[in-house]
Amino acid sequence: MIKLEQVTKKYGATVAVNGLSLEVNEGEVCVLIGPSGCGKTTTLRMINRLIEPTSGRILVNGKDTSQVKPEQLRRSIGYAIQSVGLFPHLTVATNIATVPELLHWDKTRIARRVEELLTLVGLSPAEYAGKYPSQLSGGEAQRIGVARALAADPPILLMDEPFGAVDPLTRERLQAQFVAIQQELKKTVILVTHDLDEAIRLADLIAIMAAGKLVQYDTPETTLSRPASKFVHDFVGSDRALKRLSRISVESFIKSAPTVTINASIKQAEAAIGSRRSAWVVDDKGQLLGWIDRTDLSQVSSISEGMVTLESKDIALWQNATLREALSRMLGQGFKSIPVVDEDTKLIGEVTLGDVEAATAEAEE
């Protein structure tokens, strides 16, 4: 789908990109990663001809891009830039509609598409369509940036640190959302990042760059288990096993958890806990409220009296979270098991430390 052949870009004496060859197949996510200034942005911008290579060839769909009109090429390639770059004088809806408008879609189709995309990136169309960029938080702006890049449904997506400027928690959500969206849309994506965990989580293939050159191009698993050089070895660091956990979703590790509703009788609760040490407490809608110890049950008259309350959003994992997050949550809270909730914060089960350890050992091999 995208093929770079011996591409070089020089700025005077500086060689920003040096003889880079790279191939990304349809539907794959290729993540470019490397130290600052190693030529990631330059590489990305040569693909949509915002920068012309000094030498070498770039093929998109087998066609040499230098033979395609730049505007036409760019309208078929979604581009989310490093600093978002929303148009401040236009509403969120108009921002998203940029490429469809350039392509002269009719109004109703554009309106429908905008609504679809806002929903896709998890923002309510009714609330956000009419807002201006200055009224958005950093995370919201980045999501609009991604929605704008997706607007005309381009088969190819170039993303330059799309989740760079947000706090770690938001970034995690956006990454999970990206994985979900990509599973559905199957775009060919080249994504730039500084963050190795992000690369491991999102990539089908990781391209590690240094000083304008490609130093390793492999799946995340291979990159972690068989670094091609000392540079890559140092770059991926010593906690490689831990990093691999970033690729594993908690979803397949969720076990049913002992659960009691808050209005249940002590007897019902004892039955639910059985021989286990504790149970999660939920309200009648299934939302997590806290937990209760078996030993406390005999000393209280109601569940609410013996319950330890929890802030669900601080403790619980989202079902799309990775095992790495599960582990860090367990270590941070000193819990042997962590509750998992769905999008409506309903308790759906738990993940235990034993399972995470087993997965770590397996990844070690």
Binding site: L50, P70, R74, G85, T98
Partner: protein, 394 residues
């Protein structure tokens, strides 16, 4: 609580109110036997009546009290309304007072407005300014407060209510001349600003796009701004007269050393700096990421210009045009000195004949014209500012 005490009150309005009260001991009207003789000065209570004087004093005291206490929107509105009332009262009673005095005086007797009235006008507009500043979110009130008094005085002028006041008599004696100079003034400043805009915007774009053009363009624009206006007008006389001597045909188009041609050229040159500078800044301050995103989405260069650069830079560019316009209204007055005409003609005639009324006949319309142009341009700037950029949306 002490701090709060100091924060309430409006210092500009307090100063204005005190200035208003200070106007009272001055003479308000001057009665002269003829245009050139010295006159007798009449105090507020002699010129009008004790009742009117008392009313004006009470209104000023009310303004002072409200200014000291000003805490909310209603206080500011009341101050603005009261100030306008003082202005209107002054002129409503000045008309009949002038009629009465001229009727009793000699045949060529003239009644002119003196220091008391002018100080009152200044004080009133200080209060108007202060009230406006206190009401940033109430545009309707701002406009009412700013323009009601002036509109009332203009209506009084047109109905003939003030016909026996000397400035108006100067006007009545020169009505067609006044209209002619007013039109000339508007033509000179309007034409120069339009031409300055047509030349200045492309220069600003060029300077913003081309680092090599930037320096010479600003060198030229800055240096012209430092030449005193009269000197620039004078400097243009020699080359233009030489030109018209060499090519007499040019004279048919009005190109001579003196007159409208050098004035227009000088005024255009003065308009350039604010327009070029603001166009330049308007384009350079754009977030490069925005332009980058536009190109990256597949906009062509002209589309980036039309859809992104123009709307985003427009408020600043128009702000430059506003500065240039207000400045040009004032500078056009000086152009009268090289025979270009305009309202400045009355000012310089008045200075030459030591006739203050004639000076005022030129000066006041110039001030009103500048304020009017400023208000119109501010509205244009506001309307052309895209909603997402306006302050207060975030």
């Amino acid at each position: 609580m002490m701090v709060r005490q100091w924060v309430t009150g409006n210092s500009v309005a307090v100063t204005g109110s005190c200035l208003g009260l200070l106007s009272l001991p001055f003479g308000w009207l001057t009665l002269k036997a003829s245009r050139l003789t010295a006159g007798t000065s009449l105090r507020l209570w002699d010129a009008f009546s004790w009742g009117v004087a008392a009313a004006i004093i009470v209104l000023w005291l009310l303004c002072l009290a409200l200014s000291l206490a000003e805490r909310d929107k209603r206080h500011a509105i009341t101050i603005g309304i009261t100030a306008n009332a003082i202005l209107i009262l002054t002129f409503i009673f000045a008309g009949p007072a002038a009629n009465r005095l001229t009727a009793t005086g000699a045949e060529f007797a003239r009644v002119s407005l003196s220091a008391g009235v002018w100080v009152t006008v200044a004080a009133v507009y200080m209060l108007v300014f202060a009230a406006r500043q206190s009401l940033p979110d109430y545009r309707v009130w701002q406009n009412l407060i700013s323009w009601t008094g002036l509109a009332a005085v203009v209506i009084l002028l047109f109905t003939g209510w003030l016909n026996n006041i000397s400035v108006v008599q100067e006007f009545l004696g020169r009505e067609s001349r006044f209209q002619q100079e007013l039109v000339k003034h508007i033509f000179l400043f309007g034409g120069s600003v339009i031409a300055g805009t047509i030349i200045g915007i492309p220069l600003g774009i060029w300077a913003a796009r081309n680092r090599r053009a930037e320096r010479p363009i600003f060198y030229f624009a800055n240096i012209t701004q430092t030449i005193p206006s009269l000197a620039l007008f004078g400097l243009l006389i020699a080359p233009l007269s030489a030109l018209s001597f060499a090519f007499p045909v040019l004279r048919e188009f009005g190109i001579r050393g003196v007159g409208a041609a050098p004035a227009l050229i000088a005024l255009i040159i003065y308009s350039l700096l604010p327009i070029v500078r603001n166009t330049f800044v308007g384009l350079r301050q754009l977030d490069p990421a925005v332009i980058d995103a536009g190109l990256g989405m597949g906009m062509s260069r002209p589309q980036v210009f039309r859809r992104l650069e123009v709307p985003l830079a427009a408020p600043l560019v128009l702000e430059g045009v506003r500065t240039a316009s207000v400045q040009a209204v004032g500078l056009t007055a000086v152009a009268a000195l090289i025979g270009a005409g305009g309202l400045g003609w009355f000012v310089f005639q008045g200075l030459g004949q030591a006739a203050p009324d004639l000076i005022i006949l030129g000066a006041i319309p110039i001030i009103v014209l500048a304020l009017f142009v400023d208000a119109v341009m501010r509205t244009i700037v506001r309307v052309s500012t895209p909603k997402g950029l306006a302050t207060g949306t975030s």
